[in-house]
Symmetry: D2
Subunit: 316 residues, 4 copies
């Protein structure tokens, strides 16, 4: 670590508490997701951030002990696992590479745009297809492989599925069933719908802390190789693909704005998590359950905008 | 029956064979539905028509011995049964009264137009909701009540569900499942989706001949009272509602054109059937499995256009 | 006129004032159109109705001296004039016959549905195309022919364009310009856009009273021949086409509901006018500037529902 | 320039002819735009590329003497000029920051998504709004300022509007008129539509070579400061915004795919040009008039994919 890096770290350390406190004020402008009872229980004014650097040192501020479900953040990793299991060609026969401009659970383009495959792997329709591409003889085996993958990336064998969130989603996620049957009708999904959704609901319900997200993101920041352990988890090309999708589609239909205001690959989840990274430098995890109208953590996004602009982190 | 009526009947009798023969030539322009294997087996060049008058006399021409499944034609009758079971207010809280201009299985307006209820009871989404409104403690009981209702209208105790078509649809109709789960997510459907669809698939698979359709249509032509038996099957207001929907939405998104070229309340089905009526005079059943691009019997529509224009049957 | 007709007329006369008074209460639920300043000046609580029978007798109640611009009501007549000028085939190469389910000025289906022609002649896009099909060497000549046609139908040589409404629309109707240029890009319109719109704005701005509308509707109720003068103004087939469109598309995207609740061919305009007819019996004109969310006179629709249900006027 | 850079330059020089030759084979899979006669005249099998580095050295291969109109490539620069003229806040009140997933001239989201402003400044609707934001008392003055800006960036005082392309577009671009009037109706455009479009058509018709594009791109690759002259043309923040849009929206609705396969900020035009850049290193201009289904130069995209992958140019 050179002098400039040391200096930035010290500066970050100095300002993080104040920036977090300032951003926390915005939590009142958002609202925790309520579509499943478990999510509605999140403390709406919480805000926490963990920033991890290559040697494993962590800056942690705010509600970093809060644990929450990954939700859509998990999709970045299932995409990479599906690429490792199937290769680029097979994956991109079933999902496209384009942002949609529509809501994350929209069905418009499936009906309107030939050939009726999901536009990208980070919207719900695409992520459901990706879940169907994970290798494994049974849904349980697929879910197990995904969980193992997440654990190894997070360096945390304790990671597990939050059973009550998983059951709650499985019981109520009729829009996802609707998407899945549409895909089945279009011959994009060929497996049993409930079995595919079972895998999907499980990986969305993996419970993490901001520290876990920061560690997983750190692996992406170092192109697939954990800088702490030196283990190569993911081929660099697949990390590149994932990071590109995080820029173009990672923050729902506010991805374009996030790219302009923050300029870092990121993925948000409906539980209020955001995973982002500064390439070659940091992995970052954020939690802030109060969401804005586009479904992203209102205070989390603001905090990242402030940090990115102050430290000139944009890739662009 | 007055002299003018007698004369028209004689004229119809005289021209029907030739008109049917001429229309038969158009069958080559269409194609039998293939989305379920059973339907693809229909003879694509078949064409048959039965016209029944108030005294039960029937003009029958062409392939009138062909039996086929009612498919969407059944939706006219389940609508009336749901109205009888629930009243207008309860039914129209869950389905609208407007044509859509979209395909019969489109989901666009469910996503785009508040409050996300089906636009009308004759598109798939609406008919599925209607199936959920039929009284009965179990799906089997609902299906039984529907079948009884159809039998009494057709005066044919032999009417029954074609089991292989029913099973075939139940196994493959993923787009309908997608619609149903979307409706469930919108809280328009509250019952178990597979149970509702089971009722829906059964009434779509009721097997009839053109004579059955003609008899059922005759009841509508006489405002709900069977002119042959004198039995009042359906309150006149509910027949009025059904006939209005048959004009505005009965022929998929070719309903407007049919209203202009034929001008009679009608409903078509994907097996190639068309049920129509001349108010106060005839019930008419048509079969012609070769469908045009809009999903209506290509030769059947042509035959009805010719007859309606020759005999000035348009209501307008 | 037979005894039953006399009796109905007497009954109508007896109840009309009370029905109108009851319906007037609903005006507070609506709002006069405000997109052009002239329309916003209409008295929002006005309500008037004229019912004319074949011998020219008129029942008039409420604000029948109010004059207002025809707006979309004019489209029924320009359609028939275009049919007289060009024949069915040429007209229906450029406009379809289907209701849209969308707003009257929507562009969705022009972009989404091949071949990009307006779905019907009563939505704005279709009516603009119809305006382009009126015979005449210049826009002025076309507008003059239209005005002459309206005058002869209304039996009122005083009918004229409200210049200030016309100018107001010409200055502000950018959505119509957008529609027209889209149609030009699709090669559906070939004339100069501003010239076509000039014709369109003029016929929309023709000023009438409910009595004028009732007289014009009476000609349609008698299939194109004025029962008072015996003059045949329009071939019966073209009246049939117009009446069919009035049922399927006449009341914007509340046409289906109006068909079920009233059951008569009708056309509304944004100034609050409604023209409707009881086939073979009456021509009816209504004014009520307060509009509901779908753009129809809120009290006018209610009044017609009450009268149609009380007197069993539905065609269905 | 360090050793690695020298080595890459030498390698590029060595392979460029062969790569271009290989990519040229793909021209037969595309088709030159034909919507204006002038564009249809382009040699469909042409392909040329210029790569410029900070000291002004250029690698040029293929049809580099071909001149062509910038078309949509110009929109990147008018965006930056509008930002310089108005600031971020004023610009982003009138255009959004999101990719659409729709065609570049689509009107769907203008109608469907509140508040009806263009989703981003690189689709036609957005670029037209941007043209209206360029400072200047008259359209001529605005067009002149834009041309001066382009000339200074290209270091080429000869740059000029291709009058026949400009006139051709002005005469035929009815879809753009439709977009502009829709925006005017939504109060996003307030100026006279034809005056705004006049500015727009002119900057789209500026004639360039691949060398001009490479030079202009070089300024962006160096964050707004021309590395050859040292002149600061554009504030770095506005270049950052432009580069971000080039990644998320620069290649029409193939932007996501280009980001994954090439990973560089780029903008294409319907004449077959592509402008791209390697941050901190090269400006690149490509011409290949044969377009793929998404409207991008089929051979040009392929050539850039090959070079980017071989030289590991992706930003991700």
């Amino acid at each position: 670590m050179n002098a400039a890096d040391r200096q930035e770290w010290a500066l970050l350390q100095a300002v993080l508490a104040a920036e977090l406190q300032a951003a926390k004020a915005l939590t009142s402008q958002g609202k925790a997701a309520s579509y499943i009872p478990e999510l509605a229980k999140s403390p709406p004014d919480a805000l926490g951030i963990s920033i991890m650097r290559a040697d494993g040192a962590v800056l942690a501020e705010g509600d970093v002990h809060l644990s929450f479900t990954m939700q859509s953040i998990s999709k970045v990793f299932t995409l990479m696992l599906a690429l490792m299991d199937n290769g680029e060609r097979a994956v991109f026969e079933k999902v496209g590479k384009e942002p949609t401009g529509d809501d994350f659970n929209s069905m418009l383009k499936l009906e309107l745009v030939e050939p009726g495959i999901p536009f990208n792997p980070l919207i719900n329709a695409g992520a459901i297809v990706i879940s169907s591409l994970i290798a494994g003889r049974t849904p349980a085996e697929k879910a197990e492989r995904i969980l193992d993958f997440f654990r190894s990336l997070a360096g945390n064998e304790e990671l597990d599925v939050n059973e009550s969130v998983y059951r709650s989603e499985a019981a109520t996620a009729h829009r996802n069933r609707s998407l899945a049957y549409f895909l089945k009708d279009n011959n994009v999904l060929t497996d049993d719908v409930e079995e595919v959704l079972d895998v999907y609901f499980q990986h969305c319900a993996v419970q993490v802390t901001t520290r876990d997200l920061a560690r997983m993101a750190l692996v992406l920041a170092y192109d697939g190789t954990d800088p702490i352990t030196g283990l190569e988890h993911i081929p660099r090309r697949f990390v590149q693909i994932a990071k590109t999708f995080m820029i173009t589609c990672g923050m729902y239909n506010a991805s374009g704005e996030f790219a302009i205001e923050v300029g870092l690959p990121a993925k948000s989840g409906v539980a209020g998590g955001i995973m982002t990274l500064v390439p070659g430098r940091y992995g970052i995890g954020v939690i802030g359950p109060a969401l804005n109208a586009k479904g992203n953590s209102v205070a989390g996004v603001h905090l990242l905008e402030r940090l990115a602009q102050r430290h000139d982190w944009s890739m662009f």
